[in-house]
């Protein structure tokens, strides 16, 4: 059906660490504490761990599924091979819509932050246009460029924003962590749904899997990335629990940004503006990779060149940002993305995995019979 992708377009397995981690940590890291602490208060850190473990399971399942794809292919070729041209194609379009929705969520949430914190008088379209123009440029560079962006999107924020998180410990009230286990296990599990959007991001693997050299060996790096994501969320939630009390955090839209109000540096009064600026590097790889994955679906499905479909998809995104500007809308598409993503990784992929396994089994027995 298709040629294997030439070596010069591939990334080495190690880079999967950066790609998975960069996409997982996004705008959600600025605000996930609020719903979490509303549900389970001081036990929120356990939910972070729980959700992290669940994500490990889903990554493992995804690798099981992708290793069975024909020609080391992606989800589109899997669909076509096992579910037929039409039904499979329809599902592939669904996956593409999900990728676009993910890009839209991140883009829109970040623009909202800029508008609320830094430039209240500027319109959405200006930011949207700049971002999408940059996305156009980056995606044209191909997957390796996108993966390179992910590397910087991990390294620079880690070196600049991450250390800033520890300044608020000056005000830490460690007794806020007590009493431990004040909530039942059922409550913890149901609260872990709130962490969906925060851990999502590894489902992009469904598209870029064939771009990884010796792909099955990259599984350990994907797990490492997820482990690191869990660690970062754990640090953020622990600091938030000891810095805020549960009632106070309900009054903040972006608790992590308010944390950044604490460090005092002589030459710059307010660090949260720096954090917001650097956050471009966190947000940008997510948008580019999602858009890249969407164009890749189009290419695999309709054999349209990526450089042709890219402008169309970007225009759709642009119109999307113009139409959904209100806070309630932004929250709603965030919830949709979380829900769709959860169904994709927690319901659809396991189902597909089982059906593929059954089909292979049946084929084998049929071959053995005659």
């Amino acid at each position: 059906m298709k040629q294997p992708i030439p070596d010069r377009f591939l990334i080495s397995p190690f880079f999967v660490f950066f790609v998975v981690h960069a996409i997982q940590i996004g705008v959600g890291a600025l605000s996930f504490q609020r719903p979490l602490m509303k549900a389970v208060g001081q036990d929120a850190w356990m939910v972070v761990l729980l959700a992290g473990l669940a994500a490990h399971l889903f990554i493992w399942l995804m690798y099981r599924l992708l290793s069975r794809a024909p020609f080391g292919g992606d989800i589109v070729s899997l669909h076509q091979h096992y579910l037929g041209r039409w039904f499979g194609g329809l599902l592939s379009v669904g996956v593409m819509c999900y990728y676009l929705l993910a890009a839209l969520t991140v883009l829109q949430s970040y623009i909202e932050i800029i508008k609320v914190w830094v430039f209240p008088l500027m319109g959405t379209w200006q930011f949207s246009l700049i971002f999408l123009a940059l996305t156009y440029y980056a995606v044209l560079g191909g997957f390796r460029v996108v993966a390179g962006l992910c590397v910087w999107g991990v390294v620079i924020p880690l070196a600049t924003i991450f250390p800033m998180l520890f300044f608020p410990l000056e005000y830490a009230q460690y007794r806020n962590l007590l009493p431990v286990f004040d909530h039942s296990f059922g409550q913890l599990v149901s609260a872990s749904k709130e962490m969906t959007l925060q851990y999502l991001g590894f489902e992009m693997l469904l598209m870029y899997y064939p771009f990884v050299k010796n792909a099955p060996s990259s599984q350990k790096w994907a797990h490492a990335a997820n482990g690191f994501t869990t660690f970062i969320y754990l640090v953020i939630i622990l600091i938030s629990i000891v810095f805020y009390n549960q009632e106070q955090i309900q009054h903040l839209t972006w608790p992590t940004l308010t944390l950044a109000k604490i460090p005092e540096v002589p030459f710059i009064e307010r660090m949260e503006y720096i954090v917001i600026s650097i956050y471009v590097l966190v947000v940008f790889p997510i948008i580019t990779l999602s858009v890249w994955a969407a164009t890749r679906v189009v290419k695999q499905l309709f054999a349209v060149q990526q450089r042709r479909s890219l402008p169309v998809l970007l225009v759709i995104l642009f119109i999307g940002t113009l139409l959904l500007q209100e806070k309630a809308d932004i929250e709603r598409i965030g919830q949709w993305t979380a829900k769709l993503g959860l169904y994709l990784v927690a319901v659809y992929v396991p189902l597909l995995c089982i059906s593929v396994w059954v089909v292979e089994k049946v084929k084998k027995t049929l071959q053995q019979k005659p």
Binding site: M122, P179, Q248, K261, E264
Partner: protein, 362 residues
């Protein structure tokens, strides 16, 4: 790809056009703000520096009144030739009458305001905030930050516990504690830090002296600094029977016990202190003499702490966060039940003093 760059560059330049930058001499930077309530109207006072030659600044004031609180800043604007910027606010002073009516309208608006930092200081003035700000503007030559510096200095080296916007909101929202703020008073032509203003929810209900603020500072778990004068004898003339204690390191510990049908809260405080000044008849301060003085100190500290607790219980306020402590050791803590019991709660202080040294001379 060169065309792509050109395109992006043009876009970025275009983006730059939309935001307007504001040079420092074209804005009015408010550094202190006062709120008062008089005769049914609210008064807002803003202190801002005017830049004269070089680094010399002169504090200036703007005052306006309005029947509502939210209207004050726009009304101030109508008196100011330059746009008002609140991003550099360092201190907000509430008049006592204003504070009695509640300060949430201001603090919540500050919490929502992205321009204001978490280190912003808040305070309560005994009389009117406007009058106090006028005095500071008059007495200081070039410093608009008189009050913020006063507070910070006393927090760092003396008896005042740490307070700022973050801590105020933290204690306000916490189900198990109540906020407090520095309390200022006019003394002649000067402004004096008098102690701590105490709040129930967001309403001013009373204040404690700077001496009691030392006890609060220790009980809040701020481990260092603060001085405390103690009476250790009965020898007639004033000053001759007192010692001056300087806290070097102190740690409070709480224990929550069930005592029959009632609860009991034991508060253990261990103070490592140095004796700064002591009367000559105590010389030399060592051996049995020292033990004796220590015992007396512990007794008096316990007595004073207990008096402070009774005061809080009488006022039904919890600035030390006992509720929060009890929450941390109880599963499914019931806030309402705890505060129903609170006024008659048996809270017992136990003080241990360790005198580390008595200075470089004997």
């Amino acid at each position: 790809m060169r065309r792509g760059w050109l395109w992006i560059g043009a876009l970025l330049l275009l983006g730059g056009c939309a935001s307007s930058s504001r040079p420092i001499d074209e804005i009015q930077i408010i550094q202190e703000m006062g709120y008062d309530f008089e005769n049914g109207r609210y008064t807002g006072t803003a202190v801002y520096p005017t830049f004269k030659q070089g680094p010399m600044t002169k504090p200036n004031l703007l005052t306006t009144t309005s029947p509502t609180i939210y209207d004050l800043i726009p009304r101030l604007s109508s008196k100011s030739p330059l746009p008002i910027e609140e991003g550099q606010l360092r201190l907000i002073l509430f008049g006592k009458e204003f504070a009695k009516r509640g300060v949430t309208q201001i603090t919540h608006s500050l919490a929502r305001n992205n321009k204001v930092g978490s280190h912003l200081l808040l305070g309560v003035a005994k009389g009117s905030a406007k009058e106090l700000l006028h005095i500071t503007a008059k007495t200081t030559l070039s410093d608009t930050l008189y009050l913020p510096n006063l507070v910070e200095q006393n927090e760092q080296s003396m008896n005042l516990p740490k307070t700022n916007l973050h801590l105020f909101l933290y204690r306000y929202f916490s189900p198990g504690s109540d906020p407090f703020l520095p309390y200022f008073e006019k003394k002649g032509d000067f402004v004096k830090l008098e102690g701590l203003a105490l709040f129930r929810d967001d309403n001013y209900v009373g204040h404690v002296s700077l001496r009691d603020a030392f006890l609060m500072k220790i009980l809040l778990g701020e481990t260092k600094n603060g001085v405390y004068q103690l009476k250790v004898g009965n020898r007639g003339k004033q000053g001759e029977d007192r010692v001056m204690l300087q806290n070097l390191w102190a740690k409070p510990k709480f224990e929550w016990k069930r005592d029959g049908s009632r609860h009991r809260l034991d508060v253990f405080v261990h103070i490592h202190a140095s004796v700064r000044d002591y009367p000559s008849w105590l010389d030399p301060l060592m051996g049995k003499q020292l033990d004796n003085v220590k015992k007396k100190m512990e007794n008096e500290l316990e007595h004073n702490i207990e008096r402070l607790f009774r005061y809080f219980q009488k006022k039904r306020i919890d600035p030390l966060g006992f509720g929060d402590f009890v929450r941390s050791v109880t599963k499914h803590w019931d806030q309402a039940a705890f505060y129903r019991e609170y006024p008659d709660l048996d809270i017992r202080p136990h003080v241990t003093v360790d005198i580390v040294h008595t200075g470089i001379g004997e």
